[in-house]
Symmetry: C2
Subunit: 483 residues, 2 copies
């Protein structure tokens, strides 16, 4: 089937319910499908949206195109949770049903205001000449999950191009602020644009946020600002960033900067750090973070990248969301840890001590390994007998290095490299908390000092083994399905 523009923007009402039911069953029954992560009900998933705490529960939405593995007409699908691990699927929440979002209810954020959840997002409208108009939209969701009162908050100002989107709504001392990804009209560089409002109705632009002296490529998407242990952490996705500014291998990186503080009224970050990759693996993008009422900062990411094909495209579905990560700062570095309640998914705990770790697995597990110092070797996951297929984790606790290699685990984004490496302290043991969910791996290194995530596609083979005698401590758990 050819995905013409017309087909991608066909209204949902023009698709048959039988087609949707078949697509939902196809996504559900795929051997690659995730079982304890938020995954597509059908079609394509991208950015997490509206990650928030409301009415006593956590909420997250994701960008959804229900009819195939393409970036077609987008809507928001809604999930809620008491513990950030077990999610209830509440279905379609924001759909492209008015002129403001006629060509997609694009990404945005959410914040409880009064007894409702205020949604702020970008409506994508194309006019008759197919010119894109990004409208920043407000809407209200009640505690039953019903979204109403969609209204225009502001159009793009003249100093930016049509690439103006992904508002994050915040409140400080009674004033509302929003930061948006933008491309300036003059030089076509990436920026984060700061806006303010006293009443959520009248909005004024402040300025581009000053957080770096470098050019930020040609666009920044999905900016998020959170408070973490007294610091301000800015998470964002620069596109076209020069690799001399900050090195990366993915087509587009998801980066962060830590500053002492941010003065939104002056659009100024104080004492910003250099840019760093949020995740040192393959597929993390569009991370959304927020501060819960108790101040804790949580982040969730799209596991998938723009402009990249994935093997499940042939099965008419693609991508998923990451686990929720709790953010903290230690010795000036951002630490990302899985939330504590992830442990409630564990069952059938096994102590590992034999050389061949596991001959087969369900493909749905957690593996906690401490590899002692001064050792080099390879750990093979999703391996078959002759190792012609595997996901390889190379470790060197002498010189301090960890490499994830997916070259024998399906072909994904091969031109952007099939390995990712992490620098560790030399002569020190390394602790790895590895979550595998059929075609997704998330590795938390040394209690979240590094995170290495990625998709892989060799999951018919589920042995786990070292290539030589290794001194290590290990535990293994099967992980429960959540949906």
């Amino acid at each position: 089937m050819e995905w013409t523009t017309e087909k991608r923007y066909l209204p949902y009402s023009k698709w048959g319910a039988d087609t949707l039911l078949h697509l939902q069953a196809q996504a559900a029954t795929s051997t690659y499908q995730m079982r304890y992560h938020l995954r597509p009900i059908s079609g394509l998933v991208n950015d997490p949206n509206g990650f928030s705490y409301f009415n006593g529960e956590y909420h997250v939405f994701y960008q959804s195109y229900p009819f195939g593995a393409v970036h077609g007409l987008k809507s928001w699908v809604h999930f809620k949770s008491k513990d950030l691990v077990h999610w209830v699927n509440l279905g379609l929440a924001v759909e492209p049903d008015c002129k403001l979002d006629s060509h997609g209810a694009y990404s945005g954020s959410a914040k409880q205001i009064g007894d409702k959840l205020f949604l702020m997002y970008t409506g994508n409208h194309r006019d008759e000449s197919w010119t894109r108009h990004p409208y920043q939209i407000g809407a209200w969701m009640d505690k039953h999950g019903t979204v109403s009162d969609k209204h225009l908050l502001f159009k793009k100002p003249n100093n930016v191009t049509e690439h103006f989107r992904d508002p994050q709504i915040m409140e400080e001392n009674g004033t509302y602020y929003a930061i948006l990804g933008a491309q300036d009209a003059a030089q076509k560089h990436g920026h984060i644009d700061v806006w303010k409002s006293s009443d959520l109705k009248n909005w004024e632009e402040i300025d581009f946020l000053n957080f770096t002296n470098h050019e930020m490529g040609y666009m920044i998407e999905c900016p998020n600002l959170v408070k973490v242990d007294g610091k301000s952490v800015l998470i964002f996705c620069p596109q076209g960033l020069d690799k001399s500014v900050a090195n990366y291998q993915n087509i587009y990186p998801n980066m962060y900067v830590i500053g002492d503080s941010v003065d939104l009224d002056k659009a100024q970050m104080t004492n910003p750090s250099n840019l760093k990759n949020l995740d040192e693996g393959f597929d993390i993008y569009a991370t959304q973070a927020f501060n819960a009422p108790d101040g804790t900062a949580y982040a969730i990411s799209w596991v998938g990248l723009p402009d990249i094909s994935y093997p499940t495209d042939n099965e008419n579905w693609a991508n998923c969301l990451s686990h929720v990560k709790k953010l903290s700062i230690k010795d000036g570095k951002l630490i990302q840890q899985p939330v504590e309640s992830i442990k409630t998914l564990r069952h059938n705990e096994e102590d590992l001590n034999s050389q061949l770790i596991k001959n087969s697995t369900s493909g749905q597990y957690e593996l906690e390994l401490t590899i002692k110092e001064n050792q080099t070797g390879n750990l093979y996951l999703a391996a078959n007998d002759d190792l012609s297929e595997n996901l390889r984790l190379e470790f060197d606790t002498k010189n301090g290095k960890l490499i994830l290699d997916r070259s024998k685990a399906g072909d994904v984004a091969v031109k952007y490299g099939q390995t990712r490496s992490v620098e560790l302290d030399a002569n020190k043991e390394v602790k790895l908390d590895i979550f595998v969910d059929r075609s997704l791996i998330e590795i938390f290194v040394n209690d979240g000092e590094h995170v290495v995530s990625g998709r892989f596609f060799a999951n018919a083979n589920n042995a786990i083994k070292f290539d030589q005698k290794i001194n290590y401590d290990g535990k293994f758990w099967n992980m429960e399905s959540i949906m």
Copy 2:
């Protein structure tokens, strides 16, 4: 919206995907929706189908009409589980897509044969004069959940009317048998018809099963035969049964008979007991049971009744499935217990000892109470402050009686009575294991000697309280959501 016959039998392809997405969201967000039971993704759910063990996991399907709370064009939706508690939704599995099941893929069963799951079900076909033709269909499901090779097994014989359906497939000593619900053509009474086949292709009728001397009303639906602790247990739904044969209050009962054995070749049950109600509550029907490979008999029920309206009909969805129950026999009586793994849903255990048990709950909990002997009183669930709304449980451990009263918890099937009562031993404490899931209650009395299930619709009020000082032991758990 009026549900004309034409509308109810409209092909799924004629419904818009937007309508289905809205219906799915409406069912998911309803305050009455179940969270730890199998529930409608949209529309109406009825009979469990194909309850089986296959490829190392448990499988169950349910009858689904996705477009509203009516008995329209039916399909099968598929779920699988490792523990009979946490289910993965695999979506639409058997759809009405050929002449044989053009007006509904109706109920049936499943059994692993070789490396596939054999499905045997009733295809509902209406001809041009709207005459119903029940076709018994075979199909094969592979381990990826793909159903193929639908084919006719047999048509109705002349000795039965068009009411001939719900085959349960079994195997004994290399021969396949099926039992079906039937109405005989001569007297229009309910029967269970026994068939056999050596090759799953050529089938011959044996006879109506001889398991009672009484007339079984005008029809029997959903017959199931399982081995339990060396006995044969026959579970079935007689319609129009005379209440002098066995008393019941629901519009149609779900009953069982225990025999020493069944000789299928002779269509004869040896030493059958009297008929008894499987559940002593309000809404249990179409129970399906099977013997797992280790011999354990498990049962799961439709919680819903034919020809009854429910308050959520206005929300375009209706009904759910019960928990899976493990069957055993003690002192000649059938015992039904929740499966052990239900305990993995428990969290936040509380010992109860105050008079006012809980001022509020999530509406999603388990309550284990032992009420000491020689006491009478009332326990109110889902209660508001002035008790104008509540689900009342009256107990008398002196004379031995338990009454469930839903007269102040929404209007459901009022003409069939708003209370159900259970006879207990006099002067003995009673143990109650109560599961509440928003609008569903399942009470296991004295470790499964009695089960009292029902829907109720007062769940905006979630206090639990006694009406007087009661001597009891109790525990309370919040229960996790499963989907």
